[in-house]
Symmetry: C2
Subunit: 122 residues, 2 copies
DNA sequence: TCTGGTACTTCCCAATTGGAAACTACTTTC
DNA sequence: GAAAGTAGTTTCCAATTGGGAAGTACCAGA
């Protein structure tokens, strides 16, 4: 009869749990994955481009989310020397390392949707 | 000069974005991954076991999160016929399909931590 | 009968998140 | 000079999230 934690007391689990918290604190929120996914797909987009691509987002959120992603080195921001000043947002090399993770989530989400709305013989 | 969305207008992107939203709506929150991870690691835990394993969680949150996970068929709840009534929480077969995703997040989180606190020659 | 263990629920509150609308600021075009 | 396009910021508000503490209910053992 155990009265104290056992499973998660191991070093390996502690590290894993911490890692998941780290990752999710960077990637949580309604828009992060949408923005990252869009930037992975189409490189170098302006603020207004993103506003049009990421359906439903407003200027405040987009601005804030891009800042978050920038300080975490997932997205880079470059002010261009154009007549009406434009800004180029691109995914960084480091941001690209999220591709397998995003793919895995998308894959699971697609399967989930199938299992809910899909065939009834399950 | 494009004025309308182009990248995310494709059917493939729409489906992917929807899938990511689906998945995250089930898995977001402070505790979901911790609970799932613990249940994947150690099968069949009681409410109080989980309360001890998932460091920091309170009864209210644990109860609510377990209900969420149960309705989405990721965790199963079984009331045991014991003297002081006990409940067994187990991960479902479907819940186990989250393993690769959880592994991927943990892996990325560990690498992220290394890139922040790790070697400076990067 | 009182303490302790199981498994919760309820209530109240604070912090965070997210959104709409308006506003800034600068430039080019009509 | 007004309109439109660039890239945001600010303000105000509502909804969601999360936590602490206490309460409920049932049973067993000292």
């Amino acid at each position: 009869m155990k009265k104290t934690a056992e499973i998660n007391a191991t070093q390996v689990c502690q590290v894993r749990m911490q890692a998941i918290s780290d990752a999710m604190s960077l990637l949580s929120g309604k828009w992060k994955f949408h923005i990252l996914g869009t930037l992975i797909e189409g490189n170098a987009l302006g603020f207004m481009d993103l506003l049009r691509e990421v359906k439903g987002i407003g200027t405040k959120m987009l601005s804030k989310e891009l800042q978050d992603l920038e300080v975490n080195n997932l997205v880079s921001r470059k002010v261009m020397n154009t007549k009406p000043i434009t800004v180029e947002y691109t995914i960084t090399e480091y941001g690209k390392t999220l591709s397998p993770l995003i793919d895995e989530i998308a894959k699971w989400g697609i399967d989930y949707r199938k299992s809910v709305y899909g065939k009834t013989d399950k």
